[in-house]
Symmetry: C2
Amino acid sequence: MQNSEAMALSAALLAVAGELTRRIHDGVVARGFEGVRPAHGFAFTRLAPDGATVTDLAAHLGVTKQAASQLVDELVRKGYAERRPHPGDARARLVVLTESGWACTRAAEEAVAEVVRTWGGVLGEADVRALREALLRITPDGPIRPAW
Amino acid sequence: MQNSEAMALSAALLAVAGELTRRIHDGVVARGFEGVRPAHGFAFTRLAPDGATVTDLAAHLGVTKQAASQLVDELVRKGYAERRPHPGDARARLVVLTESGWACTRAAEEAVAEVVRTWGGVLGEADVRALREALLRITPDGPIRPAW
DNA sequence: AATATATGGTCAACTTACTTGACCATTTTC
DNA sequence: GAAAATGGTCAAGTAAGTTGACCATATATT
């Protein structure tokens, strides 16, 4: 592969990722959820199943636990999450989504589906599937990190 | 396409984009360029051919011209760019890369090539090509924006 | 069992990378 | 030639992270 082709791949990947983020955000806002930032979405995916501790969240997001705690403060203030006592560890607290938090999560999923549908319109179903499979194979482990 | 498949695609795309950014940054640092942020790379790609004005740069990056100006201040302070009078418009200034700026650009290109090579090792050349073509077809116009 | 160390969490202060608002110099429009 | 638009900067404010200090509880050491 030529150097310029690698650069084109890199630029396209980053541009598409930026556009995806923007359109998810717009879609969530369009569904009536304001004051939500992209970073909150990644917190939601970690909180969604059964809740998580602030420390879990910090590791998932790749930030300090202080930053994660401030983010939880914000989610609580906006009514998307709440802190509950942690069963079995009196130091810890379990952060869980409220009903509003679940609704916002569903809105984000709808927004994602909408964007992917437009990609399907351009590429066709088979190529979208191939894109997904290729990306899954090169997906790294480790914390979710902003693309820049 | 199922909703969960769309979510998997979205998550993989964002994770790969974040990892790419991180590895480019690491590669540039490993080649001896310190104090460079990912955002500088996008500025470099705009400045590279013939230079650009601060306003051009702001549009390219999707930020205010004040922010672009501050970013140029930083690049100048670090020796990667310089402000020259603009030929044909005495209001404007042409921001161009210094030799050090070009060297840093080349280092970033090498780092990108290195990452894409590892993807080639996992996917094979044909699938990397297909990935590039698919991404190019869904690449949006407009300013480069952070993925979150 | 008692003590030492590690872990979960928060408070406070600081930093960074942006923003908005005001303003000046030059260019373009009419 | 005057009015409006454009390129750029200065200054101050804001958002989202950081580091450092600290407390409460849990785990490990002896």
